[in-house]
């Protein structure tokens, strides 16, 4: 069974067309990440699924039931917000039980669910504290706990990690992945961070300007991007784009080469002048100019390369992607 089906969903705010004919499916138990640059409509799409915004047209099905006119609380969803959105006047326990009390669940059931969720998230020592007495990471866990106790058909995460610092972000990312395995629930996760998308997703939906650019597993998108946008968005450092004329006699197309596919080669086709070197220990990122174009090469290991140095890069031609002028991938 599918957890969520969207059929030609459109959303306009006045004259601004934010979501354009979105059609996609989320399978039961799948972890789907919506990713895209800011302003691409990914958060709006999530709010339409949650029912916080109405779709202007199109059909939304959750768990096989059309929910276009169903209020958020009856859609069988739970949402985790970027700003945590904990109720400041309720304790952690109060935050987690509020929705269940609204649903008039029996007391024993509520206690059981809270105990289970707080054990899962290590929140037991904090149940009687107030949100203002918790750290950022703890608050985020409470927000996740508040979603878990509802046992929803579909979890919605709206950039849940962007308020956390880098170290905590990585830990919480792993926690969310573990949680997905433990709960075996369907989850939709919105982020602008491609690392989060690559590491968490079963399936990535890349959005741009309110349109779905490509849907697929992380490695599918990485190895086989449909267009220049997807190719440039996924991967860090991002793919290098160079005009075809630079390496061939003629041609209007663009070629794309991933930084890790470039290597140093004395007779390589790309003559470059190094403008910056990032030495990361395990890797060395070389940022260089090929004529007027910036090129980033990711070399494995440590290299003694200095700024201003002239060198040549080579690449395997089967590792190069070709895109036409409109940005579509050429075979």
């Amino acid at each position: 069974m599918t957890a969520l089906t969207l059929n030609n969903v459109n959303k306009s705010f006045g004259n601004v067309h934010v979501l354009k004919d979105i059609t996609l499916e989320v399978e039961e138990g799948e972890f789907v990440v919506f990713v895209g640059p800011s302003g691409c409509g990914k958060s709006t799409l999530l709010r339409v699924i949650a029912g916080l915004e109405d779709a202007s047209s199109g059909e939304i099905n959750i768990g096989g039931q059309q929910v276009n006119l169903v209020p958020p609380s009856k859609r069988g969803i739970a949402m985790v917000f970027q700003s945590y959105a904990l109720y400041p006047h309720l304790s952690v326990r109060g935050n987690m039980t509020l929705a269940l009390k609204q649903e008039k669940q029996p007391k024993s059931e509520i206690e059981g669910r809270v105990a289970k969720a707080s054990r899962m998230l290590n929140l037991e020592p904090y149940l009687d504290r107030y949100p203002s007495e918790l750290s950022g990471g703890q608050r985020q866990r409470v927000a996740i706990g508040r979603a878990i106790v509802r046992e929803p058909k579909l979890f919605l995460f709206d950039e849940p990690l962007s308020n956390l610092d880098a170290a905590l972000r990585m830990n919480t990312r792993i926690e969310i992945a573990n949680l997905h395995r433990a709960l075996d629930a369907s989850m939709i996760y919105v982020t602008h961070d491609q690392t989060e998308a690559m590491t968490l997703a079963d399936k990535i939906v890349v959005l741009r300007d309110g349109r779905v650019e490509q849907i697929g597993s992380p490695m599918e998108l990485y190895n086989n991007p449909a267009n220049q946008f997807v190719a440039g968005f996924l991967g860090s450092p991002s793919m290098n784009f160079l005009p075809e004329a630079l390496v061939q006699e003629s041609g209007q197309n663009t070629i794309g080469i991933r930084p890790e596919d470039l290597f140093l080669s004395d007779d390589g086709p790309l003559a470059a002048r190094v403008s910056h070197v990032e030495k990361l220990g395990g890797d060395t990122n070389v940022i260089a100019k090929v004529q007027d174009h910036d090129v980033t090469a990711r070399l494995f290991g440590q290299h003694a390369i200095a700024e201003g140095q002239e060198l040549r890069f080579g690449y395997a031609s089967e590792k190069a992607y070709r895109f036409d002028e409109a940005g579509q991938r050429l075979a």
């Binding site: 209020p71 958020p72 917000f81 700003s83 109720y87 006047h89 609204q102 949100p131 508040r146 308020n163």
Partner: protein
């Protein structure tokens, strides 16, 4: 920590300025208080002297207690102030929430219309208000005052509160919606506690003019049984003879409840500022 806070010279200057301001603000109150305990002759001979064995007299308080029903006036003032404030806060907050939270046709126009009231003094409409009150039979009832004060306070309340309510996190309200709270529950349980400092501000701004008002009680409710404290104290002020003992005593007693209410609201204000924190 701010460095300026630790510099002793700055500390002295800061506290000096605050103490000076406090003294200036409290001086008239102090003069009223000490003189209310003095005999009439002592008030005029040495207005700034403290009451001593010679000049001490409770005559003012005795007059106030004997003449007119001081406790009834007091009760009237209290009812009018508390009821008006409750209505201003309740309706003001609800209107502000609707204006800031919901998109509907004429939202902006409605907001401007409500804000217009800030610029037009309500007293301009006194004659019309009086006619209205006569027509509805509300003259000489406390309701006349409560309604007028509510109308007078609403524009500023809506204006201030809607600004504050725009700042309440949307995520919080949406979290409530997903958790199945009704719009009323979201308003009363989530939004109102977060704008408590603004509510206290509005309450303080409105309370004092209402408590002290002479104009509308004199015009709309001058009957003996609906007199407010301020109007009641006027009996001691004559065109030719003024019973200063009684006036000062009445004023001293009138200050007290305002002070108590103010302390309550300002504590709310401080607590609201320190405990808000959404993130």
């Amino acid at each position: 920590m701010n460095k300026a806070r630790h510099n002793p010279l700055n500390m002295v200057a800061m506290h000096g300025a605050l103490i000076l301001y406090t003294l200036i603000a409290l001086f008239p109150v102090f003069v009223i208080l000490i003189n209310s305990f003095k005999s009439r002759r002592a008030i005029f001979r040495e207005p700034l002297a403290l009451p001593n064995a010679d000049s001490f007299s409770m005559i003012g308080y005795e007059t106030v207690m004997k003449q007119g029903d001081f406790f009834l006036y007091f009760q009237n003032s209290m009812i009018v102030t508390v009821a008006s404030l409750s209505f201003i806060l309740l309706f003001g907050a609800m209107a502000a929430y609707a204006l800031s939270e919901y998109q509907f046709k004429g939202n902006l126009i409605m907001g401007l219309y409500l804000a217009l009231g800030i610029m037009i003094p309500i007293r301009i409409g006194t004659v019309a208000i009086l006619e209205m009150m006569v027509a509805t039979g509300l003259v000489n009832s406390l309701w006349a005052l409560i309604l007028v004060y509510t109308a007078q306070g609403l524009p500023l309340a809506v204006f201030i509160l809607s600004e504050f309510m725009r700042q309440v996190s949307d995520d919080l309200k949406n979290a409530g919606r997903i958790d199945g709270l009704s719009e009323y529950t979201i308003f009363f349980r989530l939004v109102l506690p977060l704008v408590r400092p603004a509510m206290a501000t509005v309450a303080v701004f409105n309370m004092i003019p209402i408590w002290n008002d002479l104009w509308f009680p004199l015009i709309l409710a001058p009957a003996e049984e609906t007199k407010t404290l301020t109007l009641g104290s006027q009996v001691f002020i004559g065109q030719f003879v003024t019973d200063w003992n009684a006036v000062l005593s009445a004023l001293s007693m009138a200050i007290l409840p305002v002070l108590v209410l103010y302390v309550i609201f300002s504590r709310q204000l401080i607590r609201g500022i320190t405990s808000g924190a959404v993130k």
